[in-house]
């Protein structure tokens, strides 16, 4: 990983200041990489004994349930005078089964000023802010970066891509599904009734891989992300909103008890 002055702002929506084992594991690695690490959340009580005693980690409460308010609160603790190489925002909506793998993504797609791990491309580009890096002097030395977060209307995931475009920043995702992955995502959505399946009376079924641009890779390509970046999104397991088949992941967890324990704890911590 390239040596750059890096700050991490981790947001937790947990009901207490105590982090899960998965988050503590990730945090431990972030401390080694980062010049500064801040943990923010609506229910953080930063006092001694209230939060895990981790050297080099600062804690702050946003006082608001809004995740972006927590990002803003965390960014507010960073020293604006430093020459940050990158500032990474992350939340607790996923479990990092292999934090090292996830951190390697920070050096990918160097042409991007704002690089999320994943995004949905259509109908409008939407960068996922579960893990997103703002990179380079061009992005971070502008006062607008910090000003964004201080504005009354704030920033949201929905408006982030537009703001980047308006500011002339190159924004995109590190994970870009290839053709096979696009087909896999579309097949999954068709298989489980998320997309309508219209079967031709004769001849082969013709599918459009570009439909994957409408689909959330965190859900429809969950296993690709797990293999490549060592993460899994809790939403995949918590809800059936996406209707897709998570049995292979359950099978995998059954064979990997240490990972299963991390996921189980993370799931319960947010329920």
């Amino acid at each position: 990983m390239a040596t750059q002055l890096t700050a991490f702002v981790m947001v937790t929506q947990r009901a207490s200041s105590q982090l899960t084992a998965a988050m503590l594991g990730l945090l431990a690695l972030l401390r080694e990489v980062g010049g500064e690490v801040v943990v923010a959340g609506p229910r953080i009580h930063p006092g001694p004994g209230e939060v895990p005693d981790m050297k080099g980690v600062r804690w702050t409460s946003s006082g608001s349930e809004e995740p972006f308010a927590a990002y803003a609160a965390g960014l507010g603790l960073l020293d604006r005078g430093l020459s940050w190489g990158r500032i990474v925002l992350l939340d607790d909506s996923f479990v990092a089964l292999d934090p090292g793998q996830l951190l390697e993504s920070l050096d990918a797609a160097p042409e991007l000023d704002v690089a999320s791990l994943t995004m949905v491309v259509r109908p409008r580009p939407r960068l996922h802010t579960n893990w997103i890096a703002f990179r380079g002097a061009r992005t971070l030395q502008r006062s607008l970066f910090f000003d964004w977060w201080g504005q009354a209307e704030g920033v949201s995931e929905r408006t982030l891509s537009d703001r980047c475009a308006a500011s002339g920043l190159r924004a995109g995702s590190v994970f870009r599904p290839d053709r096979a992955q696009c087909i896999l995502a579309v097949c999954r959505a068709l298989a489980w009734g998320v997309l309508p399946l219209e079967v031709p009376a004769a001849g082969p079924y013709a599918g459009n891989p570009d439909v994957a641009l409408d689909l959330d890779p965190r859900i429809y390509l969950w296993d690709e992300l797990m293999v490549r970046y060592g993460i899994v999104y809790l939403e995949l397991l918590r809800y059936r909103a996406h209707r897709i088949n998570v049995e292979p992941f359950r099978v995998w967890l059954a064979a990997n008890p240490a990972a299963a324990a991390l996921v189980e704890e993370a799931l319960h911590s947010q329920s």
Binding site: C187, A191, P204, Y205, P209, E247, P248
Partner: protein
């Protein structure tokens, strides 16, 4: 409902020697309605044997040769088949929630075929899945092919060899003798395509590499996929059966939550399901 022209062989296996509740209900329904019913078990305990007494002819045999050897022992125990128009062999590997529905779909219908499964599969080669096989019509029951198939059988205790030689072999044997295969449950084109999609989902089928633009899937390829897995929900809805290996083990990586929800909707089904799982 009566099928006095039908002989039945049920091959029973239970590690604990139990007679599952669903099998007891199946016997109670079918045994009084058919001409002959042989129940072959590889180790039924006293309680189950007592329950069956007077209802079926019970044969308890050594646990060798898998279900096909039980079929063979049962066919032999049936004796003269001259009085029968149908011979139905089935095993205890699938949960029967409603014997009436299954029996009517199998036995009340002139299938216009000779060897009829509940399901067929094209996996390896087109074949009747051997958990349930109906031989229909005197033409096949009285045939040399029928008697030679059973008389030449020897017990095989290697599961893969049983599948290759006996499950696939049975269909191959009768087709080569001029008989026709059929099934009570037919996979439609939509289900065949959905089976392909689900198979891709769990990576049993691979996405062809390369190419640009539109991708194509041939629905007929789906007929080669196991319907007891990929069409389990409609099998449950239409024939009221489900393969136990599907819900008992991690045979499949498919999401079975809808299936399990349906299985546990009414009390009777839930009781049969829970009882079967307890084995």
């Amino acid at each position: 409902m009566a099928w006095q022209d039908t002989a039945v062989v049920l091959a029973h296996f239970s590690r604990r020697g139990r007679l599952a509740q669903y099998l007891a209900e199946f016997v109670d329904f079918l045994a009084p309605r058919v001409g002959r019913f042989v129940f072959v078990s590889t180790g039924l305990a006293e309680q189950g044997a007592g329950y069956l007494q007077g209802k079926v002819r019970l044969v308890v045999r050594e646990n060798v040769g898998y279900d096909f050897w039980s079929y063979k022992v049962g066919i032999d125990a049936l004796g003269d088949l001259g009085a029968f128009r149908q011979v139905w062999i089935l095993n205890s590997s699938f949960l029967i929630l409603d014997p009436s529905t299954l029996c009517r779909r199998m036995l009340d219908v002139d299938h216009a075929r000779d060897v009829i499964g509940i399901t067929t599969s094209n996996e390896h080669l087109p074949h009747v899945q051997s958990y349930s096989v109906l031989f229909q019509g005197p033409r096949i029951i009285q045939s040399a092919a029928f008697s030679s198939w059973w008389s030449r059988m020897v017990p095989i205790s290697d599961r893969i060899q049983v599948i290759l030689q006996y499950e696939l072999g049975l269909s191959r044997h009768f087709v080569s003798a001029g008989f026709r295969l059929g099934s009570a449950f037919a996979v439609n084109r939509q289900e065949a395509l959905q089976a392909i999609l689900r198979s891709i989902d769990v990576r049993d089928l691979r996405i062809p590499p390369g190419g640009t633009g539109t991708f194509y899937l041939d629905p007929t390829q789906g007929y080669g996929l196991n319907p007891t897995q990929y069409c389990c929900e409609r099998l449950l809805a239409d024939l009221r059966i489900v393969k136990l290996e599907l819900i008992r083990s991690k045979l499949t990586k498919l999401d079975l939550r809808d299936l399990l929800a349906r299985l546990t909707t009414n009390r009777h089904d839930r009781e049969l399901y829970e009882d079967a799982l307890s084995d």
